[in-house]
Amino acid sequence: MAITEENPGYKWVGTRPIRPDGLDKVTGKAQFGADLTLPGMLFGKVVRSPHAHARILSIDTSAAESMLGVKAVITGSDFPDLVANGAHPMAIDVSHNAIARDKVLYEGHVVAAVAATTRELAEAAAKAVEVSYEVLPHVLTVDEAMADNAPLLHEGMITKGVDPAPDQPSNIASRIVHERGDLEQGFGEAEVVVEREFTTKPVHQGYIEPHAAVADANSDGRANIWCSSQGHFQMRADTASVLGVSQGTLKVTAAEIGGGFGGKTVIYLEPIAVRLSQRAGRPVKLVMDRDEVFRATGPTSGTRIKVKMGVSNDGKLTAAEVWMAFEAGAYAGSPVGAAGMTVIAAYDIPHFLVEGYDVVCNKPRVAAYRAPGAPMAAFAVESVLDELARSIGMDPIDLRLANAAVEGTQASYGPKFPRIGFVETLEAIKEHPNYTAELGPNQGRGVAAGFWFNAGMNSSATVHINENGTATVVTGSPDIGGSRQSMALMAAEELGIPYESIKPVVADTETVGFTDVTGGSRVTLATGAAVVDACRIVIEDLRARAAKTWDVEVDQVEWVDGQAQHVDGSQPPLSLDALAAKSGRTGGPISANASLNARGVGAAFSTQVCDVEVDPETGVTRVVRYLTAQDAGRAISPDYVEGQMQGGVVQGIGWGLNEEYVHDQNGNMENPSFLDYRMPVASDLPMIECCIVEVPNPAHPYGVRGVGEVGIVPPMAALGNAIKDATGVRLTDLPMTPIKVLEALNEQSD
């Protein structure tokens, strides 16, 4: 089902052909991060801290260095001191997270690394590195970290965003606040006020491919890096910064990437691999084990969130008060800022106060994860909305419709919304048969909505017309979920040639212009816009060449259906392959670049309804039916729009029901495996039904909005609301495991 405001009659955009990189991926040919082998290549292994918080007293590498076959051993002292160099605080954090200097701040923090001729030798050598620690008291949660007299991770951390600035350091990196109106007045106008407190645990992005990097350093100071990342330009910049070298000395080639969801926008192994390769004089491959991925990369924040909201009897939200604290992990930078901006942004609420804290603790530094910050915030607010709807006896969709942000609504984070499709997603759910399907015993239905900004940022593209009239479309955006297909579809639409005649390529850092990370649901919008621009430059050039051929003015030439046509039909059309074949005579090869800082970012909304069945005797929740409606603006590649929607929902189901970081009291992660970090498996799920809503983004040539992230925002609240509907109990602590559900049911029956 697609709701389309207009049907522009596209030939390629909106179709479902086979993806260009698909064949390599179903035959095992695609080269992912760990698949490259170079002649003479060594295997590296990283030495990690077993402690959550400790001072490094000494590192003895002599035993490891003396082992036969060990070619390099490095520690933090092999990297420049960015503090002394006066680097930006963020660059210092990136550097110290890549390899610890005087202190380790979480279990898994890198302290040293080795390279040896075999995998087994590297592992043995890593074990032989002797590190002596002075263990320090640690803090694992926002509660512990914000407590009076809590042990400090960073002795100089003064909370930002507080006026006047505190005179004592703390683990609170910053405070954010958004407010409007008069809370007292707002709550005074409410007939019903609901106040709840929510907690969520850190969860991992859970990409199936562990981080991997191969580095090959030359003696002249240059180095090549192959790695799996969401942005090889970002990897180049951060690696150069950690190594203290110029970016120009590094060339980064993007391997196929085996999932990222935000977690591969940051460096981990790359600078280590380069330094090992420099020391050893040979290529070095570093690949993380799964337990390293869990202990030292990702996750997103654990949180505590308090929400108080008021509603009038006719369903108008009158006021909202939100307090939230987000774990940042070892270094400042949790997504609490985005959480504060999104938490109530989907609704028009006259009086509100949103306050948030970014809190460091002794866990891995959080990394972006699909709409970072928004899902936890939505879990809290959308759960409270459900309570409000129940209190006043209103349908939960109707409550949201009565307060939904529309074009012109002053968003809680500041500006007015442009044309958005929130209402349309709500209506799509309400009209779908799932919404009124009969529920069985022990089943319940929950609704929730979500909002995410999406991003624009910088992208580059090059379009080459080959001699036979086919085109190569070169971009710098690693393809994480089918973006090569959407690039090819837009290029085919622009150039008027078949999709199959387009070869989309992700090029290395020396072959295409700078491009920001594949993140923020921005690639189809921003890199797509660069591709469209480059195609349009090519078309201008083609028109000029046809004009030259026909000896007419260029305004006499139109580009239609892949060929140049004279406006009055006085010349036989010139096809792209004809023009390409003779390009040498008309000015040389046909090629164009476009680079841009994208504009016209369109906000994304998703509304979801889920049906669950709860076993009242074991507390097990099974999802029996799921429907998601999302405003895609325009679905360039509907297959992969649905894929993003379904993938986001299922990650949210995992977050809602089972996924969590479990730490023991020493700060060691107890479940760093896919066995005990329970991501959804196929048998846990029903089909995820999709309803692509298309409210075109007026600021984009094809109406594109980002589609990648918002799908993960509603599921946790949808599940919680469905559990409430099925059982009468409200779960406020994620994940909503069978243990917690049964406890709540026991309390209810007491």
């Binding site: 084990d289 337990d291 005797e617 074991t618 507390g619 097990v620 099974r622 029901l657 089972n658 479990v662 107890e670 479940n671 495996s673 896919f674 066995l675 005990d676 329970r678 959804p680 498996v681 048998s683 846990d684 495991t737 069978p738 243990i739 049964l742 406890e743 026991n746």
Partner: protein, 289 residues
């Protein structure tokens, strides 16, 4: 680490006797993660799958014999076995994914010593015996006596299980195994319950066995429940006694997979449900074994 694949029980026994740091394995599904995680570092890896007796599944009038290293998929795929012991078959079918079941075995599942091993409650309620080979000869030990604590067995380091013997199920007998996991697959049991009942001609229970996994240091029998079931039709009141008895025998721990309170409560629930399924199966299996 050196790999060895003896082709006879004797060869395996002498290998084990001659190298103190040898470790037998069948499907390797547990030992590989253990070695990887540094929890084991044997010098010799003794692969038992090349010994014929260890990979076999046969039956005669008296009993079924299951080679200790037989992949569990061969149990679930064997229709006659699965019809006679659906509880063991379904337990075997819960040990990990299809990929794991191509390799996992009853011998490995038992000797790994996990209190959460799925096949063990199901084997126990069916009175399964383990034939253990060692340098001093063979001995036959009831499965309930093999595991002595988490990760610990009554086997000496030079002994291993060759095969399991399970007496043919009498008519009017049914078994069942249920487990509670947060997902639907790929988890370690938080609670497991195996039950078997044999009915008298009048439809009342003549014999009953109930065993629980993951609720104590080893798999435990719930004798109070078994006794309570005798002579009843597993009516609601009796099942309440069964559930209470099941909860009462639990001696679990709080860990990352479950809490004490949860395990105790759900042990009762699963015990009840497993008995009911076993009853139903017993009613359907009237002398046609």
């Amino acid at each position: 680490m050196k790999y060895a694949a003896p082709s006879s029980v004797e060869e395996a026994t002498s290998l084990l006797s001659s190298s103190p740091s040898a470790q037998v394995f069948a499907g390797a599904t547990d030992i590989v993660p253990q070695i990887h995680g540094g929890r084991q570092a044997p010098e010799v890896l003794v692969d038992l799958k090349k010994i014929d007796e260890l990979v076999s599944l046969t039956s005669d009038d008296k009993k079924w014999t299951v080679g200790a290293a037989t992949p569990t998929v061969e149990l679930t795929e064997n229709q006659a076995f699965s019809q006679e012991f659906p509880g063991i078959s379904e337990a075997a079918g819960l040990i990990g994914s299809d990929q794991i079941q191509s390799r996992s075995s009853l011998g490995g599942n038992l000797c790994n010593g996990s209190p959460a091993a799925d096949s063990v409650p199901a084997m126990m309620v069916n009175g399964t015996r383990a034939l253990i080979a060692g340098p001093k000869g063979n001995r036959l030990v009831d499965v309930s006596e093999v595991v002595t604590g988490p990760g610990q067995t009554c086997l000496d380091s030079d002994e291993f299980v060759v095969e399991f013997e399970i007496d043919r199920a009498p008519s009017l007998t049914g078994d069942a195994y249920l487990r509670m996991i947060p997902r639907t697959e790929m988890d370690i049991a938080v609670v497991g319950a195996g039950a078997r009942v044999t009915l008298a001609e009048d439809g009342t229970i003549a014999a009953a066995a109930l065993a629980l996994g993951a609720v104590a240091p080893t798999v435990v029998r719930v004798t109070a429940a078994e006794e309570a079931l005798i002579g009843t039709t597993a009516d609601e009141d009796t099942l309440a006694v069964v559930a209470a008895a099941a909860s009462a025998v639990c001696n679990p721990i709080d860990d990352k997979r479950g809490t004490i309170a949860y395990r105790e409560q759900v042990a009762g629930v699963l015990a009840k449900r497993a008995v009911l399924i076993a009853m139903e199966r017993a009613q359907q299996r009237n002398g046609d074994v």
